[in-house]
């Protein structure tokens, strides 16, 4: 019986080679695998007549042969189908247009900044936009009527509540509840009472960075910002640093990057955290030091993508958004 089965397979293979029309594969299928009078079925029907000693393994063999035949038949019919469709395609015709979603360039910039500083061990958290005068100004060495407030025109809700003018409001908030070592970013929306023009809007984004531990130094701040500039603008990017004044950092600096077309462009303010700020955050300035920086994702997005008017970022024209 085994030889019969082997022969059957060989015959099938020979016959299928000769087939040219698709319909003939079906005829062949019926001839070999048909339920009632297929050749394989006929052999199967003889099994009960065999002596028990010869029965073992026959079932398995039949199943294997059936599978092989089915497989060959399938392949054959599939091949026929593909080669049968010979239609002309103009490959210079544009492909189908797929509508995809997109993320806003400010998101792209904030995510990129987060990723770069994540590499340096920074995480991030959010904070309130409606803020108390206390955290936005007073705890940062800017008591009421301090001249430094002139640089940050402020929207007030009432005499004690305002719209935060910078993400630095998070410095003392975070220090109050966390123990050093601290490495954290505060991205978020800020507000200034400025007349809207090509570089100012009443609300915009900032991202603040804060590091506090017992060993930080100014050269780390410069190195980290240089690392950031090179990752963000390209590895040949140069930065330069100059002295500045912020009431909540001492020493204070501003940083410029060299833009191939625009020359030196100021991108951020930074400095060593002022001892008063550490004290306000319930830390001992004799034990801990730190540094902080603040930069504008709007401005960075404009620089990186060549956008010349901040209003384009917030107008949400799809012809603009679809480019990102």
């Amino acid at each position: 019986m085994k030889t019969e089965l082997e022969k059957l397979l060989i015959n099938f293979k020979k016959e299928i080679e000769k087939i040219e029309r698709l319909e003939d594969t079906e005829t062949l299928r019926v001839k070999y695998l048909g339920r009632k009078s297929g050749l394989l079925q006929k052999i199967t029907a003889q099994i009960p007549k065999l002596p028990t000693s010869q029965r073992s393994g026959i079932g398995t063999m039949i199943n294997e042969i059936r599978a092989q035949i089915e497989h060959i038949l399938e392949e054959k019919s599939a091949k026929r189908k593909v080669s049968g469709e010979e239609t002309y395609v103009d490959v210079s015709t544009p492909g189908k247009k797929f509508e995809t979603g997109s993320l806003h360039p400010i998101t792209l910039v904030i995510e990129e900044i987060k990723e770069i500083f994540y590499y340096l061990g920074f995480t991030w958290t959010d904070g309130p936009e409606v803020e108390s005068d206390l955290y936005n100004f007073q705890k940062l060495n800017m008591p009421p009527d301090h001249p430094a407030r002139d640089a940050q025109q402020t929207y007030y809700i009432d005499s004690e509540t305002l719209l935060r003018t910078h993400t630095s409001n998070m410095q003392v908030r975070f220090l109050e509840n966390h123990k050093p070592p601290i490495r954290v970013l505060f991205p978020g929306r800020c507000y200034r009472r400025d007349m809207p023009d090509t570089t100012h809007l009443p609300s915009f984004y900032q991202i603040e960075g804060l590091l506090v531990d017992d060993r930080s130094k100014m050269t780390d701040l410069l190195g980290s910002l240089d690392f950031f500039a090179k990752r963000f603008f390209g590895k040949k990017t140069k930065i330069r640093v100059y002295g500045h004044h912020f009431p909540y950092t001492e020493p204070s600096i501003e940083v410029e990057v060299h833009h191939p077309k625009k020359g030196w462009i100021e991108i951020l303010g930074a400095g060593m955290v002022h001892p008063d700020v550490l004290r306000n955050g319930r830390l001992d300035p004799g034990k801990y030091r730190g540094w902080a920086f603040g930069m504008g994702p709007d401005r960075l997005a404009m620089l990186k993508y060549g956008i010349n008017n901040i209003r384009i970022l917030y107008n949400n024209d799809l012809r603009f958004l679809n480019q990102f």
């Binding site: 809700i157 009443p202 001492e250 204070s252 949400n316």
Partner: protein, 669 residues
């Protein structure tokens, strides 16, 4: 502050080209905004930070230049004769509250001949952006620009009796030099004589004591005022002058004497005037201040290797005197602060001085040492995930302004009187804080109609509500919202459901929403257990009309914090080991029955054999709602037998009929 280079060169040697000088000043902290040519001269425009009023002067800038290049600063020597030459005149000047004017110099000058200033003086003023008026006003302005110390000259003959400096009472009036009558707040500093107010101190002189063509005798007053009083009065009156800009900062408490003597010297030169009273100087000289600085602190904070000699050299160039504390305190440096550096109070301030003159661009660059904080803040990571989900579904992210106008709110059916707003708006368009992200989304949707007939947009951000009581900071929750122009309800809801699925949030319930403008009738509130998560639905037509949107538009707004609280990481559920049985059931639904009733009924009836359910068709046939659903059954432990399947079907159909649906099934079912 504008300043001609030629004037600067009178006090310090400058060999560097203007741009190089500007860069070197910038690096050490004195920002040059612009460099302009003015005839034969070059004019620098400086941006001086409020902590450095000493740099609001030619001498202050020259001092910085001298420190940067390690050169000698040559300032004019003051008037040598401080006793009156001939006739004796006197002035009685008193201060009622020392705090208002803790130090000043005052004296009388006579034989003054008023006239135009000599060219050298007038031209320096004009290049500095100050109009030349007459030789007295010009000298006072000149000395202010030169030393940073403002002063005021009164006509001696217009003063009746004694001069008194006091705090103003609310509603007092004074006519200033610009002929404006000013109604004062309480707490401004004023000077009066026996009859009248004669000076709005620190801001502008009084008209009634003005120096004019006929003036021959002056009272010259060079004060140090309380900065806060000046600043408050200046802000209250909306009056800012070159003098108030200086007086509102912490000026050099010793400068008044030098400035007085310098002014007398120049008045004598330009008007022939002579000092005719003793110089009365109050609060002079001020007490010397010093700060003890550990050298190690400077090194550790800056991170540079700098030795004691270098530090002492830099501080010396800035006119700080240094002395070693004692042999056993090797590390400590006693630094005496020059009177003009009112900004220096503690060791870090001196650290900055060393750093900025050493040059930050000469620092090595290092990266932070030690290990970072270990805990992650998942909040913003899930924001990134949400953004990704929505953009994968074809939505475009927008960023809109969070301040808006009353009109915009009313167009969206929000009564503006209930909304949070700023108390000092600048522009009417930016007054109210948005109560919903739909403010920006609907504006953006409307804007894009011209170029795109279909659009789906989303935004993540804070929205605000007004709270009469309680913490005003607690009313600013974060939302995620979207708008779908020219879509249908199913598509909008599908985006919401897919979002939940991707965040592995289950057991979400949609309930028909009661009137919740701007959402219309076809809207559902979304619940997670008892927590309200948000709303999805149509935007009301009457609102769409206000934004010129002619096509059906849907939207949703979800609470980000609730979403974040319920989002889970995926956890693998085994795929069924045994065959899944599939069947389609069509049925008529009366209007009173919701799809959710059908779905819940089927789930309950199939029990543990329920696998999935999908709506294939939803039509109106002959006025009746007809739906076709696909149901899958399975058993986790074995292949379902025919009899078992029939039993489940029976239970499902029975349940459907009980609910009130009318299944249209073949008879053999």
């Amino acid at each position: 502050m504008r300043l001609p280079l030629s004037w600067l060169k009178e006090y310090v040697e400058i060999k560097e080209p203007p741009q190089k000088l500007a860069d070197d000043l910038l690096f050490s902290g004195t920002k040059v905004e612009s460099i302009e040519k003015a005839n034969d001269d070059i004019v620098f425009d400086f941006e001086i930070t409020p902590n450095r009023p000493d740099c609001l002067s030619v001498i202050g800038i020259a001092r910085e230049v001298a420190a940067i290049y390690d050169r000698r600063l040559a300032i004019p020597s003051p008037f040598s004769e401080t006793t009156p030459a001939r006739r004796k005149k006197s002035v009685s000047f008193s201060v009622t509250e020392t705090k208002l004017c803790p130090a000043y110099s005052v004296g009388v000058i006579d034989s003054v001949k008023i006239g135009p200033s000599p060219d050298w003086l007038a031209s320096k003023l004009e290049k500095s952006g100050v109009r030349a008026i007459d030789n007295i006003v010009d000298v006072t302005n000149y000395v202010m620009l030169e030393t940073g110390q403002p002063m005021h000259a009164f006509d001696y003959d217009k003063i009746s009796g004694k001069m008194r400096l006091r705090s103003s009472r609310k509603g007092e009036r004074v006519t200033t030099l610009d002929s404006a009558e000013r109604i004062l707040p309480a707490g401004a500093i004023i000077i009066e004589d026996d009859e009248k107010l004669i000076d709005l101190a620190g801001l502008m002189g009084g008209k009634n004591s003005e120096v004019d063509k006929t003036t021959t005798t002056l009272v010259l007053h060079v004060p140090l005022y309380d900065p806060l009083s000046i600043r408050r009065a200046s802000q209250y009156l909306g009056l800012r002058t070159e003098a108030s800009n200086r007086f509102e900062k912490k000026l050099d408490p010793a400068a008044h004497r030098y400035a007085f003597e310098r002014a007398v010297q120049l008045i004598s030169l330009t008007t022939g005037g002579k000092l005719s009273s003793p110089i009365k100087s109050v609060g002079y000289p001020p007490q010397q201040r010093s700060v003890l600085v550990p050298i190690s602190l400077i090194r550790k904070t800056l991170g540079i290797s700098i030795n004691r000699t270098q530090i002492e050299d830099i501080l010396g160039r800035l006119e700080f005197a240094t002395t070693k504390q004692s042999e056993d305190k090797e590390d400590a440096l006693k630094v005496t602060i020059p009177s003009f550096r009112t900004d220096i109070n503690e060791p870090v301030d001196l650290t900055e001085e060393v750093g900025r003159i050493y040059g930050y661009n000469n620092f090595p660059k290092t990266l932070p040492e030690g290990s970072p904080s270990a805990t992650d803040h998942p909040q913003s990571n899930s924001e990134r995930e949400l953004r990704q989900i929505l953009s994968n579904l074809g939505l475009k992210e927008i960023y809109s302004n969070s301040l808006t106008s009353a009109k915009m709110l009313e167009d969206l059916s929000f009564p503006s009187q209930n909304m949070l707003k700023v108390s000092n708006r600048l522009v009417i368009d930016y007054e109210y804080l948005r109560p919903t992200l739909l403010v920006g989304l609907i504006t953006a949707a409307s804007l894009n109609l011209e170029n795109f007939e279909k659009s789906s947009l989303f935004e993540i951000g804070r929205v605000f509500e007004k709270k009469e009581n309680g913490d005003p900071l607690s009313s600013q929750s974060k939302k995620i919202s979207a708008i779908f122009v020219n879509y249908n309800f199913s598509e909008a809801k599908g985006v919401v459901e897919t979002t939940f699925k991707d965040l592995n949030i289950k057991e979400v319930k949609f309930k028909r929403a009661a009137d919740q403008a701007p959402f219309g009738k076809t809207s559902a509130t979304i619940f997670l257990g008892n927590r309200l998560l948000g709303i999805v639905g149509e935007i009301e037509k009457r609102i769409l009309e206000k934004f010129d949107i002619p096509t059906p538009t849907y939207g949703f707004e979800l609470d980000l914090e609730v979403l974040q609280a319920y989002a889970k990481a995926p956890y693998y559920e085994p795929t069924p080991k045994f065959p899944v049985v599939k069947e389609n059931i069509s049925m008529y639904l009366p209007k009173t029955i919701y799809f959710s009733d059908i779905a819940n009924g089927i789930k309950a009836a199939a029990g543990k054999n329920f696998y999935s359910l999908e709506l294939l068709e939803d039509d109106i046939i002959k006025g009746q709602r007809s739906i076709l659903i696909d149901i899958k059954y399975y058993d986790p432990n074995h292949t379902l037998k025919k009899e078992e399947i029939a039993k489940i079907r029976g239970q499902v159909l029975e349940k459907l009929k009980k609910i009130g649906a009318q299944p249209r099934t073949s008879p053999n079912f």
